[in-house]
Point group: D2
């Protein structure tokens, strides 16, 4: 198992849904960076559960306790570790022994990999709760990036069949991104948000869940970062983005749309702008050519599967007697993960950028 990611700035994520605590160590931060804990807490609260009906009513207190790496509010250059205590762990909700494995969850694959000593309580180390550590690390990194002018913002592009307006990939406004990255369940078009709420409620009432797409942009990213081959910006981003539970697809710029485009349409024409900079007239490339940034906004999208925890009866297997079985999961679940996933996507992008920028 490797729960460490990054080369220049490494994050080491630890803990599980029902362990004493979860946490994260950020290794490789520059020294002397001021970290505003209120901004960190804002990001933590965007991911925290229990905000509305799209989310589980569990009352997790996602308060990060920084035990080292900060002195008088500044990074020291030494590893920065934060611990988040697990206070509300009702193990009985899930059951310690996965006699019946939950479809769409990692119960069976965990059993294959780790055997009976795996921590199955609430998903253990597979739990979406671990994304709190990613949000914390991203909240630290994005403050350093913001000092360089880089702004990252994401929104719910779609939930089920309901769609938000797509970000203007050529020029996502800084003010818009700043609104998106400070709201809970950020959406560009307020009407879309209302419809999304209705969509989620529909599935919640059916004891079901629904998937969606998160779209994210980062502006003012320096030109010339990334590498031609294996450290392409897409490779580095996708490596951490596919670590977010429930992500099944990642695309940059026009993404899968390029498959039906011709070259004369997809190639972004260059021009010299007012300040003498080289810019493109479109941004189908999502700010990346040959794996390297061209100074245009980085734009990407992630497909999230519907939460596998649903209240409906499902077909499964009994791992003890190796027979077919029916299974109805009880307990508290998010009928849609998208609202809480948005800050996780932004955080992962911030961590990726911290590794790419020299």
């Amino acid at each position: 198992m490797s729960s460490i990611w990054g080369e220049k700035v490494k994050i080491s994520v630890f803990g599980g849904s029902h362990t004493a605590a979860i946490g994260v160590t950020i290794d490789g931060l520059p020294s002397g960076e001021k970290i505003d804990m209120d901004k960190v807490l804002l990001q933590m609260s965007r991911r925290a559960p229990g905000k509305d009906k799209t989310a589980t009513p569990r009352c997790e207190k996602d308060f990060p306790n920084v035990i080292c790496g900060l002195k008088d509010g500044f990074t020291t250059g030494a590893p920065l570790t934060a611990i988040i205590v697990n206070t509300n762990t009702k193990s009985s909700d899930y059951g310690a022994v996965p006699e019946l494995v939950r479809p769409g969850h990692a119960d069976l694959t965990a059993l294959y990999k780790y055997g009976e000593h795996s921590d199955f309580r609430g998903g253990g180390h597979f739990s979406g709760r671990l994304t709190a550590s990613i949000v914390f690390a991203g909240a630290v990194c994005r403050q350093i990036l913001e000092r360089k002018g880089i702004v990252i913002g994401a929104h719910a592009l779609s939930i089920g069949s309901v769609k938000d307006i797509s970000l203007d990939s050529l020029n996502p406004e800084k003010a818009l991104l700043e609104r998106l990255n400070s709201e809970y369940f950020s959406v560009i078009n307020p009407e879309a948000k209302e419809k999304m709420y209705a969509e989620v409620e529909k599935y919640r009432m059916e004891s079901d869940s629904i998937g969606g797409i998160v779209e994210c942009a980062a502006i003012n990213v320096p030109k010339g970062i990334g590498e031609p081959m294996f450290q392409s910006v897409e490779s580095v981003f996708s490596s951490i983005l596919f670590s977010i539970p429930a992500v099944k697809g990642v695309e940059f710029g026009r993404g899968f749309g390029v498959a039906e485009m011709c070259g004369s349409e997809n190639n972004d024409p260059y021009r010299v702008d007012d300040k003498g900079n080289f810019v493109t007239e479109t941004n189908n490339a999502g700010g990346i050519l040959g794996g390297i940034t061209n100074g245009m906004p980085i734009v990407f999208r992630l497909a999230f599967k519907p939460t596998p925890s649903i209240g409906k009866e499902q077909k499964t297997v009994n791992t003890k007697n190796r027979e077919n079985a029916d299974y109805t999961i009880h307990g508290r679940h998010d009928p849609c993960i998208i609202p809480r996933a948005i800050p996780v996507v932004e955080a992962a992008a911030a961590i990726a950028l911290m590794n790419l920028i020299k």
Copy 2:
């Protein structure tokens, strides 16, 4: 720049379009594995240019010269290095100094990153020719995987608006995958192939190019490989898949389709099969749950952008006088990269699996 990929089995890719040679070192191979060079050459020929009108008429001889790592046809356990000499390098086709940068290519980003000493000849280290090294490495790895029963096969799922039949994600037949992974421009439905040829020809006649989607499956992958967080199967695969030039999207299982699915539909129900194994009745997960394989086929798709080299006049900038300019690229190009990209995708999958399997 990091042109090295992998943890357990590392590949180090070197060379450029117009250097004396390109090549690859595979580090970490087990010893005593028999490597059939005819099978390697078959894979090299599937990627080689000049097969038909979809491809550039350049006559590159993609012959890999193994200089170490094999003895009497068996791996020694020491690094295996192969060199492919560049014989047909007409530098005049491209021009050494990119006064005008080609839209959709890495000319400008290379200039940003490496400055004037970058090797711009034919795309240099960014050239699609580098994928020959990946195909070689994959051809070695897949022979080792095949001995474990693992079969990997890919096909052109779409070119422009023309679509092939999708692989049966639940049960892609071994015989079909073996046909796909031994053909040039492999397609499931022969009629689709004819239409794809016509589609490419249409764009070629217009001095334009067209994108597409490659779909790939791997069967008999052991259960329980991959990791919950940052070494998820999706993370490892996407990291190398996004290193293939022109890839702008990667998805696993139902991929972006999950965004409009509800949980009761997307969760793959388990059942016990005839042999007492746990299988799923659908394979929306693409063989991966919680980042770990469940023994079902791994299925994924990649979106390739249209070749940026087109014969039409395009808008660009002059990097010397920093003025707008028009640019018509002459020379030899693929109007569609999909046919030659298929073996590259299979090779990358083989390299990824070699790293994931213990």
Copy 3:
């Protein structure tokens, strides 16, 4: 800064002398390994300060609080994190701003590297206290190794001019190693220990300190681990051994002694033993040939410099006014680090072996 070490089993060390806590995450442990916490605490206590006059009278409670990675006493396969709270941190002992930098310490190099926001309190992340994290991680790893029959033991080979008997490099007895690895300040010859106490006391009375050598052996290490080049057993061991504060030299087998030996003397002759195994008649190689183990005991030695914290007046510089200055350090120090360093060396060896063994 990179406070993460290892490939297969990674340890991530965090905290500083005066942060809220220090700790360590062990990533990549196999699941299902029983960990006896009493054995862990025994190792922690061997390193803990305040045992006798060789050590600082500080009363640090080195109690590791495991917050995740263990369930019912078994490893889960998920990252195992332990936190050790810093309870007795008298910041006034050292001073937060290093106007005067301590000779032999990292004060000035920390200032060069991290600037004024570096954590100078008690050495910060450079503090020898961080070795508590290494001892914890090693105490977990060695239990897994012991189940494979591997036993690691170290002793004070010398303190100043006083020497202990050297370990029989050909056949260090298991019982002896087990005695050494469970004692505080382990020495083979009890008389040498008495003389070492006297030696340390002599320097302590002079407000001075003294260096020494730790010798370590590991028996029953499997044959054939390590690599010919960059992952040689010596490379992997030395990489973590030189991370222990105050180590200035590392040698394997006959070490620097080989420089005056001829080949016919240094080459270890092979013979077949009673059980038909290939063994050597001497073990000048320290169990390693070509970077790979040959099944003989791994034997190595480390030179530790005298503790830089001494009570004598020393010449230094004032970093504020950039003038020469005299400096007398007050506070609590170890006049000799060797007694407490022994379990750290064993722990580092255990961590190294966990990474080398497949």
Copy 4:
């Protein structure tokens, strides 16, 4: 097997004593660095065999053929690969099947690790010939370092009982280092060199071999590089230095000498020099405190064991019938590796520094 080393600048070494060629890829070089091939060839020639009676009379042509990564004499930023063809490979000298394993060599450990398909010809990938690749890579790196003012030089500190003058660790003169790093078999005191020749000749006449110590210094290394814990300068250096065949000990500054020193003697007193810089009055630390450079010269020493290939009859085992045997090795060997090891040590230091310097 991992024959790749480095984080920022990676070197990938490939080939064996009797493969078609050996070579190296340097990945991560900055672009636009002028590389003088004459300087590279000078370094290659310092390592090449056949210079005098200390060395094997084999006539290897160590000519590196750069196949990519350089354009018009400048680095392009893409991987730089050089191939050195093996022209004089008389396999009969060594024998392909190691029925009798050579004491002191890696024959038996290679058999343990790689089995019968290992390349035993001339030591295969374990051969000292692989150090030609390291010298090449170091020769490239040192030119980049020299442009920053860094000069690296090494010499034979001892061969058997004959000793050269030690480098002045406080102030090794630039001119001296430049003489040392351009000579074959560099020694500070010419008289010592004569005696060393006599020492080696003595052992050569006895069909024996002799060990020695190489001492190396690097001056003008920037302050503040390295890390407190696992990427300490000593850790990084020792990791690559112990990869050089035959090295059994590595020490920095006073090295093992610190074991008998007291703190008041070993601590290097600080003072302000004429230019207002902080310097030390002694350099027992070898330029490194807390794992980080303090701007003083980096000084270190390596112990090399005597060449295991000797002409005397030795005791060994027959791996086929598992019986004891006598063995006399015929063929061409170096009676002392020290003269040719000197440029390898300098090269490894250059590669290490390229990784440490930002």
